[in-house]
């Protein structure tokens, strides 16, 4: 177990700082982005947040729901094939969200992705993970991919906070380009930790049940 340093986000150009503020406001306007801290209080300790995934807005909404101080040191882990594009989307991912972009396409990508996560954790950043790996139908919560387990195993000292994102699948569902401005919310549940000797399957099931307990459907 190794203690990570306090994360210092990379210095930002004023356009990025301004853009980040604008993005938070826009996200709130479009998706509501209310935060409900029911099982965890906002804290600046290093954490791993994991949430259900049903919309391209998910990472944005969870990030915008965090208090500003936490937002600066929390990095969403996002799919490179969607976010790592030339133009505005890539600029937002890199400069505003400070996202950890991972490749989920190739077989080799998996190992590389874990390396990226380890690096970000070693720098002291908190992470936002979507362990379902791909967007679901927005109703049921799918099986969780092992990435979350590897992160918890590498850093058993970290709090792993389940976050249930509600209504995002109705605001911008799979396959739609135009959002409908309903009120989304992020519910932060009680943190879990990897128990000593707990296996991969058992931990991932427990994590999935934590999301279900916050309002998801099995």
């Amino acid at each position: 177990m190794n203690e990570a340093p306090v994360y210092s986000p990379p210095p930002r150009h004023w356009t990025a700082a301004f853009g980040a503020g604008l993005l938070v406001t826009l996200t709130r306007l479009v998706a509501g982005a209310q935060a409900r801290w029911v099982g965890a209080a906002p804290a600046s300790t290093q954490r791993v947040y994991f949430a259900n995934h049903s919309s391209h807005l998910d990472a944005l909404v969870l990030w915008a729901a965090l208090p500003p101080g936490l937002r600066a040191c929390t990095r969403p882990v996002a799919a490179g094939d969607y976010w790592d594009r030339p133009g505005l989307r890539g600029w937002i991912a890199r400069n505003l969200l400070n996202a950890v972009l991972v490749d989920r396409s190739s077989a080799r990508g998996g190992r590389e992705a874990l390396t990226r996560l380890s690096e970000a954790l070693a720098e002291g950043a908190s992470l936002i993970l979507f362990p379902e790996g791909t967007r679901g139908d927005g109703i049921t919560i799918g099986e969780l991919k092992p990435g979350l387990y590897f992160v918890a195993k590498e850093r058993p000292d970290l709090e792993v906070v389940p976050v249930y994102l509600q209504n995002l699948c109705r605001i911008l569902p799979k396959g739609e380009i135009l959002p409908v401005p309903l009120l989304g919310s992020s519910t932060f549940g009680p943190p879990i930790r990897l128990d000593p000797g707990e296996g991969r399957r058992a931990f991932l099931d427990r994590a999935r049940n934590a999301l279900i307990a916050l309002g998801g459907q099995p």
Partner: protein, 315 residues
């Protein structure tokens, strides 16, 4: 249309500010004197409500001061947010996505465009006819038949109650009342004052005298004492404000009574929806009150009745 800042509208506004000062003073006194924990919660909520009333009054008066267009925009935004809260709480399917997009970004702007341009003939049928027919057609094209009637009905309900009904309040500005030209802003102010005062007075009478619940299964806070006392008092105020309207004192009393009864019915129906969905408030936007829909539930039912009573009898 420009607002005429005559003595009557100044008198109405002074009265509102006086009431708000009174509310703040009472809140301050109660805050100092309250002893129990549960009492403290009620007083904290009361003070939050009064603070929110100051803000709502300021926004409304600022909108009124711009003449017609500010009021139309304010009520348009109110409708948009109320529809947002309403649809968020009523489950719709994936197949309704595009229909909802139309509801928010096409039907709401068009309805308020019709209000702004005083196009009465289309304003009064646009949502009940055209939006009503369009909603199921757009949803059926998406090909999902599960809960089809319930889904379409919910969207139609949302449009009717949050958009169509609410738009009748700023639509008062389009009425041509002989001998009352250019003074319609007072009519809008009168409606809002009577409806909201009725809510406040029902709350005050209910909290102080309320014993016997009317429909405990729907709304545990609505009591006979609160409702009758609040409606009677608000009707009396409505009658005493006749000088700001084209009505005689007795007409003002009758109209205020109908408006208050409609407002009560609106609050009750919206409570039933909330209870069915298992929630207390539609939203969290207005501190102490809940969502926008919680604040305007009585206005939704009162505004169309008031509009048509005035239109049939005074134009």
């Amino acid at each position: 249309m420009n607002v005429l800042w005559d003595q009557q509208i100044i008198a109405l506004l002074s009265g509102i500010v006086g009431l708000l000062l009174l509310g703040s003073a009472v809140g301050l006194v109660l805050d100092r004197s309250v002893q129990t924990d549960s009492g403290r919660l009620v007083v904290a909520n009361l003070n939050a409500r009064v603070r929110a009333w100051w803000v709502m009054t300021a926004v409304f008066v600022a909108a009124l001061a711009t003449g017609g267009i500010g009021s139309v925009i304010l009520f348009g935004l109110t409708s948009f947010i109320a529809l947002r809260e309403f649809i968020t709480l009523t489950p719709t399917h994936r197949a309704d996505h595009r229909t909802l997009f139309w509801a928010f970004f096409v039907f709401v702007p068009i309805q308020y465009y019709l209000v702004a341009t005083h196009w009465y003939g289309l304003f009064v049928i646009f949502i009940p006819v055209y939006a009503f027919l369009f909603v199921p057609v757009r949803s059926v094209l998406a090909g999902d038949t599960q809960d089809f009637l319930a889904r379409t009905a919910k969207i139609q309900w949302g449009l009717m109650v949050a958009v169509y009904c609410v738009s009748h309040a700023p639509a008062l500005l389009m009425l041509q009342i002989p001998g009352y030209e250019g003074e319609n802003a007072k009519l809008l102010l009168y409606l809002i004052v009577v409806v909201q005062l009725s809510d406040v007075l029902q709350y005050v009478f209910g909290k102080t005298l309320g014993r016997h619940k009317i429909v405990p299964k729907v709304s545990p806070n609505k009591t006979w004492e609160g409702t009758v006392g609040g409606i009677a008092a608000a009707t009396l105020v409505g009658a005493l404000l006749w000088w700001a309207t084209p009505f005689s004192p007795w007409e003002a009393a009758g109209i205020a009574l109908i408006v208050n009864l409609a407002g009560f019915a609106g609050g009750l129906c919206m409570s039933a929806i909330k209870r069915d969905r298992g929630i207390k408030d539609f939203g969290t936007l207005i501190e102490g009150h809940g969502g926008v829909m919680d604040r305007i539930d009585s206005l939704c039912f009162a505004a169309p009745l008031f509009f048509h009573m005035v239109r049939y009898s005074y134009t």
